[in-house]
């Protein structure tokens, strides 16, 4: 403006500086205003996302962008390599086994990818043998409820998907256009959220002891034990108290048909083990122990319950997770040998033809699946037939194989 910051070359006189300021002002107006006016007549650079784009925004993103995952179920071999590769269990695949004659040997009941959890690391894409799972360029994840963020590539579990059998030696697989499937699934994201609990329901829920979670298990156990003592002789009511200590999922892992069966057996005195509730885990065990101890002694254990906490700690690991309950029976080789020794034994039992019918690339893969990755289907070795199946059951479970 009136004073410019340019240092003068030779000091002009006072009047010269005065005139120079005026001239500089006029000149900077002339230059500056011609620049701004010229910009007014240009096309603005702004990209009007999302609704006034020339092309869909996905097409403006680099091709190798890691957006939402997509699985082309037409070329998915159900190898579960992506599920194993995922470091944070974003992918969930449920496999249904058939006899291979009337029903296909393998069918996928579920192929869920929780986009809300996905960290877009791309580790699942790398092991995929057919390129069925890929990152798309979709990225807009605004949903009505975070549950909607799960992409279900098998939309209906009652209509399972038969895995793709890649032709031998094939290098390329016919994949549908990237993004098509995910875009279609994303439409479902506008589904309304589950309703909020009504005020009455929220009130009714309040104060009821909840299973698991951050609740104080030992206090809850003592509370239940006190109630159990009051109804010691009344078996049906005692059963109800005992059932409250259980997870209540009626999973049947305890060997009884449901929680009622297990708790009734304890109440009747037919069952003494407190560690059979797999979903309840250490919490259920600790509570049941507290109740059983108090029933035996007639008093509720004090602030540090004598039986429950020490028993709970080692007990936490023993029952294992709900996923592999059958392994926990008997003393089969699987329990006595180390994993590496077990691997050799299991590999010996296989037919050794590397046929790939087990959906693993070769016998080595299937063996590793059984030993290290918790594969519980032991009847996949087609060349070995019934012989191999029996051997595997003997090794892994110490039982005879169930009839087909």
């Amino acid at each position: 403006m009136a004073e410019t910051q340019i240092p003068p070359q030779q000091t002009p006189g006072a009047f010269g500086a005065y005139v120079k300021n005026v001239r500089d002002t006029a000149k900077s107006f002339w230059e500056g205003m011609s620049v701004t006016l010229s910009y007014m007549f240009r096309k603005p650079m702004t990209t009007q996302y999302p609704d006034r784009m020339g092309v869909p925004v996905q097409q403006t993103i680099p091709a190798r962008y890691r957006g939402f995952l997509e699985v082309d179920m037409d070329i998915c071999t159900a190898c579960q390599a992506c599920e194993r590769a995922c470091p944070i269990q974003v992918i969930n695949i449920d496999i249904l086994k058939g006899d291979g004659k009337i029903t296909p040997k393998l069918r996928m009941e579920r192929f869920d990818i929780d986009i809300g959890k996905c960290m877009y690391c791309g580790l699942c894409v790398e092991p995929c043998p057919t390129g069925a799972i890929q990152h798309t360029r979709e990225f807009e994840g605004a949903v009505m409820h975070f549950n909607n963020l799960t992409l279900r590539f098998v939309p209906d579990p009652l209509v399972p998907v038969v895995p793709y059998k890649p032709p031998k030696g094939a290098e390329a697989f016919p994949r549908r256009e990237l993004g098509e499937i995910t875009r279609k699934l994303i439409k479902a994201w506008d589904a309304p959220p589950p309703p909020f609990p009504s005020e009455e329901a929220a009130k009714a829920d309040h104060g009821k002891p909840k299973q698991g979670g951050a609740l104080d298990i030992s206090a809850m156990g003592r509370q239940l034990a006190a109630r159990a003592l009051q109804v010691k002789e009344d078996k049906p009511r005692l059963q109800k108290v005992l059932e409250e200590a259980m997870a209540g999922t009626d999973c049947g892992d305890c060997g009884y048909p449901d929680c009622f069966g297990y708790s009734d057996a304890i109440a009747q005195g037919k069952e003494t083990s407190s560690e059979k509730c797999a979903p309840g885990g250490a919490d259920s065990k600790a509570m049941l122990d507290t109740i059983l101890v108090s029933l035996k002694t007639g008093v509720v254990p004090g602030a540090p319950p004598p039986a429950a906490p020490p028993a709970a700690e080692p007990g936490a690991a023993a029952p294992g997770s709900a996923a592999e309950p059958a392994v926990a029976k008997g003393p089969p080789l699987a329990k006595t040998l180390s994993k590496d020794e077990l691997y050799k034994v299991v590999l010996d039992a296989m037919a050794g033809t590397d046929c790939g019918d087990c959906e693993y690339p070769d016998c080595d893969g299937y063996t590793k699946g059984i030993v290290y990755e918790g594969q519980t289907d032991l009847g996949r070795c087609a060349p070995g037939g019934e012989d191999t199946r029996a051997k595997l059951y003997e090794i892994m479970l110490g039982t005879k194989p169930p009839p087909k």
Partner: protein, 409 residues
């Protein structure tokens, strides 16, 4: 306006001097015209707020508000509705009465200007014989409002802004007043309509091209008007980055909207004043003022609309220039602002007044010299406009861009 009403009453077959209802008719039309003028100010202020945002956006390669209504034109209504529904917060530690009253002082000072501001050949609320003096006087009321709001907010930022504003407006009143003296000298009247009548429709008949001093006076006046309207580069009183918005920091809701209304409404006031004083006002080409007076019936209405349109177009051009300046120039420092006023504009305006007085004597002695000077200055200005357009086109070409006003709208 009184003449218009008297004619109206005579048209109904009464004598305005003796008819008992004359005063009531006056009162009714006073109310009606104030209502119209306030609404004109409010609506034009709103539309300018939208226009400024669109223009600013384009100058910065952006798009600006374009979603509410066609091209975002209804954005200002949405903003107004939002501001009206916002809670009108009044700080607990503020001076309650002054805090509440300050925006109204601003509004009154701003609305009063419209009384003497012409819109067209006949359309003016009151053609006072002291019109310019009146406008300069009521504009000063805005300073009172600003100081009140700054003081009563009980906030340091607000007070800084208010004091800056007071210093600025009081300083720039002097060059503005002196510059406005020149058209008054040339026209021999202070009435706004009289000053317009003394000029002509063509650029070489305007006061801005009367002599070099008048041209300089126009720029002095325009600069001072920018400063008085707190427009960039003189927006020190409400410098967002320094003062957290200055004197209106503590205001919200409707009271805040008054401040903004005044700021944008002032665009029209300062532009209309510049057009009135220097740019020939509403003068219609080929229809001098005395022939306009003589027209009757449909032709008179048509000529009235033409003069209104001419005045509006000229004024809107200056409104655009003010916005354009805002997005071109950075804010100047307080010391630069004061230097500019006292070292440059004030002496220059005094010299200009003296020169014009001298020049009027010269022209009286040799009228041909006056006419030659008119054409010379208008020619120079025309050449400057052509050069400027070429310069803009060159700027556009140099970056490889095309002239494009329609896409990405």
């Amino acid at each position: 306006m009184q003449g218009f009403l008297d004619n109206l009453i005579r048209g109904w077959g009464y004598d305005p001097a003796t008819w008992p209802w004359t005063q009531f008719i006056y009162l009714f039309f006073m109310g009606l015209f104030s209502f119209l003028v306030i609404n004109f100010a409010a609506i034009s202020g709103g539309i300018f707020s939208w226009a400024e945002r669109r223009i600013a956006a384009r100058m910065q390669s952006r798009v600006g508000p374009n979603r509410v209504g066609p091209a975002g034109f209804l954005q200002w209504i949405a903003d107004a509705v939002k501001l009206l529904f916002k809670e009108d917060l009044i700080p607990d530690e503020s001076d309650q009465i002054l805090f509440r009253a300050a925006p109204y002082f601003m509004m009154v000072g701003f609305a009063c200007v419209f009384v003497a501001l012409p819109f067209s050949h006949r359309l003016i609320i009151a053609d006072m014989n002291v019109g310019i003096f009146y406008i300069l006087a009521v504009t000063a009321l805005i300073v009172v409002g600003i100081i009140m709001s700054g003081w009563s907010s009980n906030s340091k930022w607000s007070l800084f802004g208010a004091i800056r504003s007071a210093a600025q407006i009081v300083s720039y009143e002097i060059p503005a007043g002196m510059a406005l003296m020149i058209p008054v000298l040339l026209a021999g009247t202070m009435s706004t309509q009289g000053i317009i009548r003394a000029q002509g429709a063509w650029p070489w008949q305007w006061f801005i091209f009367d002599n070099p001093a008048a041209t300089a006076a126009f720029f002095i006046f325009f600069t001072s008007a920018l400063a008085e309207g707190n427009r960039t580069p003189f927006d020190l009183p409400e410098a967002e980055s320094e003062l957290v918005s200055g004197y209106n920091t503590e205001y919200s809701g409707m009271r805040f909207s008054y401040f903004f209304l005044v700021e944008w409404g002032n665009l029209w006031v300062m532009s209309a004043l510049a057009v009135t004083m220097f740019m020939g006002g509403w003068q219609v080409p080929f229809l001098p003022a005395d022939r306009l007076d003589a027209l009757t019936g449909g032709m008179a209405v048509l000529a009235e609309i033409a003069s209104l349109a001419i005045f509006a177009v000229k004024t809107l051009f200056f409104v655009f220039v003010v916005m354009w300046l805002r997005w071109t120039l950075p804010r100047i420092r307080v010391d630069q602002m004061m230097n500019m006023c006292w070292k440059y504009l004030v002496p220059a305006s005094f010299v200009a007044v003296l020169f014009v007085a001298f020049w009027m004597l010269v022209v009286r002695a040799a009228p041909a010299l006056g006419i030659a000077m008119h054409f010379l200055l208008a020619g120079i200005a025309g050449a400057a406009v052509v050069l400027f357009v070429l310069r803009v086109a060159k700027n556009l070409r140099d970056t490889g861009d095309k002239f494009d006003l329609t896409s990405n709208w």
